[in-house]
Amino acid sequence: MPAPDASSRPRKVNRLGLTPSDYKGKPSTLCKGCGHDAISSQLIRAFFESDVRPHQVAKLSGIGCSSKTPAYFLNHSHGFNAVHGRMPSVATGAVLANRRLVAVGVSGDGDTASIGIGQFVHLVRRNLPLIYIVENNGVYGLTKGQFSATADENAALRSGEVNRLPNIDLCGMAIELGATYVARSFAGDPKQLVALLRGALAHNGTAVLDILSPCVTFNNHAGSTKSYTWGKDNEEPIHILDFVPAMDQIEVEYEEGTDQEVQLHDGSWVRLRKLERGYDPTDRRAAQELVLEANEKNLFLTGLLYLDTSKRTFLDSLELCDEPLALLSEDQLRPPPEVLDEVVASYR
């Protein structure tokens, strides 16, 4: 018996007194029905519901239809639409400069799995605090529908062209690389998506969300394994996932039917109701096995595939001061003349 979703109570204003429209962006210029717009809507909802201050958010992206979307949500946040495939490095630089930023990166499957896979690998390895969204449609939308590296083997374009290379599974890669929050979801499953996004907001580390986001123009035909229909017909959530904010947790009783609760860094919880698989997302072996099985059998398993709340973040590794580097004063940045004298003396 699914319990009522704690996080989905409709609210007019959030705890900051902001309305959902305070989280909106410019009108989208994407194709009508594009999955990416559906994801933008859930981003708006998640940021609103999680009471994130818009000015604290930095939106980063590469190049592609997906990478355009940061212009279409959170108008009151700084955005940086960079170059193709390099969102990870841009996100890294921004977070290093200002560790208080809530960084959300949006990328596409071409942007991440093709040109950008190297930066993806190293970002995940560093565990930079960042929500990394891949709006995965199996094609390069913006350049008119060529296959990307996440296209399934033997998938066909409308033109009949067949992809003869195996796909790269970004969740599999992320898990292999020791990512700390790895989820797969579907633009057509707003409820799950918003919970995963809120979980990602509460997580301290890299949160990789690989989201099937159909391209209605180039990859939504019958037979496509990245279409809405295919997604709807094949989505198999591995659990029912609720996000329980820190403050609600106090009030909310342990829910009947809940099998597992994992606490996130800000004190909130992810509550899982297991389905047939009885899946435990904190078990890395199980996660690898799950991804392998999904690929072998072409299953579309969605949910929080892997979670590790114990690993240090890149900011920890660097032992950065608490004050954002960008806001340090001249006093803190420029050592006094005596230091110059001292150093100069050592060169005599």
Binding site: P70, A82, R86, S89, T92, L320, C321, D322, L325
Partner: protein, 620 residues
């Protein structure tokens, strides 16, 4: 060596056959070894000892692009008049590398001296040199039984030997050893011993027969002995560098490596944590991407690289130009194209860096010519980058960056940091919502920016490398595109006024002859000017651009001379091309002459003297 004082003190012209005169404080010592053999410490000790004797010195390391076992040459030039550019002829050779000894000896001018491992029997090779053999390995065995150590210490023995032969103050050698090995007491002891054995060997077995000698002077008061990359790093720290990203590559690695050392020591916050982030990125694309975004978010961001890295940074740099993001990039140039000669010096990236990236781009480039300027531009580059909101390059090179130079001490920044036009929350409140990211409010073509995280509903804007208007909105409007691009062009004119102006040294009235050179060519040019003046009574005016874009005064300089040599350390005469592209037909025909040096060796005065002499004969 008691006969030393018998030599005449005065330097006078002498013909080749006569007994050599005494030459004081004017020589080039070259130590030929293999890399990885540990001779670097000995060379530094030698260099520092001379430096502390008050003699102008410079040290240059010619090393291979591998880690151990290949030939390497360290050259120390000491010159009482301060000419320490590369000198083509070596006066004192320390030949410890059997692989190159014969060629090294063959390349010497008559009258030079050779200190060498006696087993090499070099004395058979020439009869016009002065030979000082020594059994280095044997002597080293006296210091220690440990084989690995023995090899290292053999190097310190030649320091002692040279010390004796050249009258280097032993106490300065010992002092230099202490500075070199600092805390390591045992090492200090062993190395002192080795020096002493070298001295003893020379005293007991060698008879001084060459004219070279060293004497205490007082030309280094207050000076420092430093490589350009350390100076750059230091400058960057005092410029408030807060995010430095990099990917290792010779000869730029030591910029960030040394910066890290300084920051670790001097830049911890009150909580004991770092007020900086240094990131070794996975490659140069990531390094520049991180630095660019850090600059965007308000850090003082920098990266350092060389040739191949510059090529890889190309795309991001264009974004920085068009989206107007501050960032400092050090390009420590090496010999290209491609991998080229990674351990040789060149000024071969001027042209490609100036217009790096596709489309209409051009970048502010600073051209330091000394370690002092490396320090100065180290902090000023941040001010320029943040003031102009654009990537600023500093183009150093391997010679300047990795070799060791004596220099006046660095001056603490004479003004507070210029963080440029950043609007904080209060500013936005005052302005009441009229902030437009890319508008030219002040007429200097430099817009205002806000930092992410600024707590004001009007602070946010959207940064992109695609077409945008003054409000930073996406647009494909041709008018907006042209407006923004034209403003960027005007901003470059603002930059032209802001960058360090050329240094001009011009006779009154102007000589008919001028030279334009930049960066690490400077010491060779100054020496050549002096030589031409003294030896051939040729006065050569000198203009040294210190930045791109070029100042109008460069054109004035050109047009006020009849012949202007443009000195480029590259094959294609890149500075010449820039001058022509910039000033075009305003340059009278025949004025510009191109001198191109691209062997990978540092610039030397003789090459300039020869070129100019021949040219002036032609002109006469």
């Amino acid at each position: 060596m008691s006969d030393k004082t018998a030599l005449v003190e005065e330097i006078a012209p002498s013909d080749i056959d006569s007994e050599p005169e005494r030459i004081v404080n004017d020589l080039a010592i070259q130590v030929a070894t293999v890399n990885g053999s540990g001779s670097q410490s000995s060379n530094l000790v030698l260099l520092r000892a001379l430096f502390r004797m008050g003699i102008p010195v410079g040290g240059k390391n010619l090393f291979p692009s591998n880690i151990a076992g290949l030939p390497t040459w360290f050259t120390i030039r000491a010159n009482r008049d301060g000419w320490v550019a590369r000198k083509r002829n070596v006066d004192y050779l320390v030949a410890l590398n059997p692989q190159t000894a014969i060629r090294d000896v063959e390349s010497l001018s008559p009258g030079s001296a050779v200190v060498y491992e006696e087993g090499l029997r070099l004395e058979r090779r020439r009869d016009d040199l002065v030979f000082y053999p020594a059994p280095f390995q044997e002597l080293a065995a006296e210091v220690t039984r440990e084989v690995r150590l023995r090899k290292l210490l053999a190097n310190m023995i030649y320091v002692g030997l040279l010390g004796e032969l050249l009258s280097i103050d032993v106490e300065e050698i010992f002092g230099a050893i202490e500075s070199q090995f600092r805390s390591k007491k045992a090492a200090v002891e062993l190395n002192r011993r080795a020096v002493e054995i070298g001295i003893r060997h020379a005293r007991e077995n060698l008879v001084k027969r060459d004219p070279f000698t060293l004497e205490r002077m007082d030309k280094n008061r207050g000076k420092v002995l430093i490589d350009g990359n350390a100076a750059a790093a230091l400058g960057a720290m005092f410029g408030g560098a807060s995010v430095a990203t990099w990917y290792p590559i010779t000869p730029s690695s030591s910029v960030v490596e040394q910066l890290t050392g300084f920051l670790k020591r001097y830049r911890n916050g009150p909580d004991g944590k770092a007020t900086y982030a240094v990131v070794q990125a996975e490659d140069e694309l990531a390094a520049v991407g991180m630095a660019l975004a850090a600059g965007w978010a308000g850090a003082r961001a920098m990266t350092a690289t060389s040739g191949p890295g510059i090529s890889l940074m190309s795309e991001f740099v264009g974004l920085g130009y068009y989206a107007e993001i501050p960032l400092v990039i050090w390009n420590i140039q090496r010999v290209g194209p491609s991998t080229g000669l990674p351990t040789r010096t060149a000024q071969g990236d001027i042209l490609s860096t100036y217009t790096l990236s596709h489309g209409d781009t051009k970048h502010v480039c600073l051209l330091p010519a000394s370690t002092r300027e490396c320090f100065e531009f180290g902090w000023k580059a941040f001010d320029l980058a943040e003031r102009l909101q654009t990537p600023v390059f500093v183009l150093s090179d391997l010679d300047l960056g990795m070799n060791i130079w004596a220099t006046e001490p660095f001056e603490y920044p004479d003004r507070p940091m210029d963080r440029g036009k950043v609007l904080a929350r209060e500013d936005l409140e005052r302005l009441g919502g009229t902030f437009q990211r890319y508008a030219d409010v002040d007429g200097d073509a430099i817009p205002y920016r806000t930092l992410p995280g600024t707590e004001h509903p009007g602070a946010a804007y959207f940064t992109r490398g695609s077409g945008h208007d003054e409000s930073a909105e996406y647009t494909e409007s041709e008018e907006a595109y042209v407006r923004i691009m034209t403003r960027l062009d005007r901003k470059f004119e603002t930059a032209r006024e802001m960058v360090p102006p050329p240094v001009v040294d011009q006779a009154e009235p102007a000589s008919p002859l001028g030279i334009i050179g930049f960066g690490s060519s400077d010491p060779a040019i100054e020496e050549a000017r002096n030589r031409l003046r003294e030896d051939a009574a040729i006065e050569m005016d000198y203009l040294r651009p210190r930045a791109l874009p070029l100042c109008p005064s460069v054109l004035d300089f050109i047009t006020s001379h009849q012949r202007v040599v443009v000195l480029d350390q590259n094959r294609d005469g890149q500075m010449l091309q820039l001058l022509r592209a910039e000033y075009g037909d305003r340059i009278p025909p025949g004025v510009l002459r191109s001198l191109r040096h691209y062997s990978g060796h540092p610039m030397d005065a003789q090459t300039i003297v020869d070129y100019v002499t021949e040219m002036e004969i032609g002109a006469a």
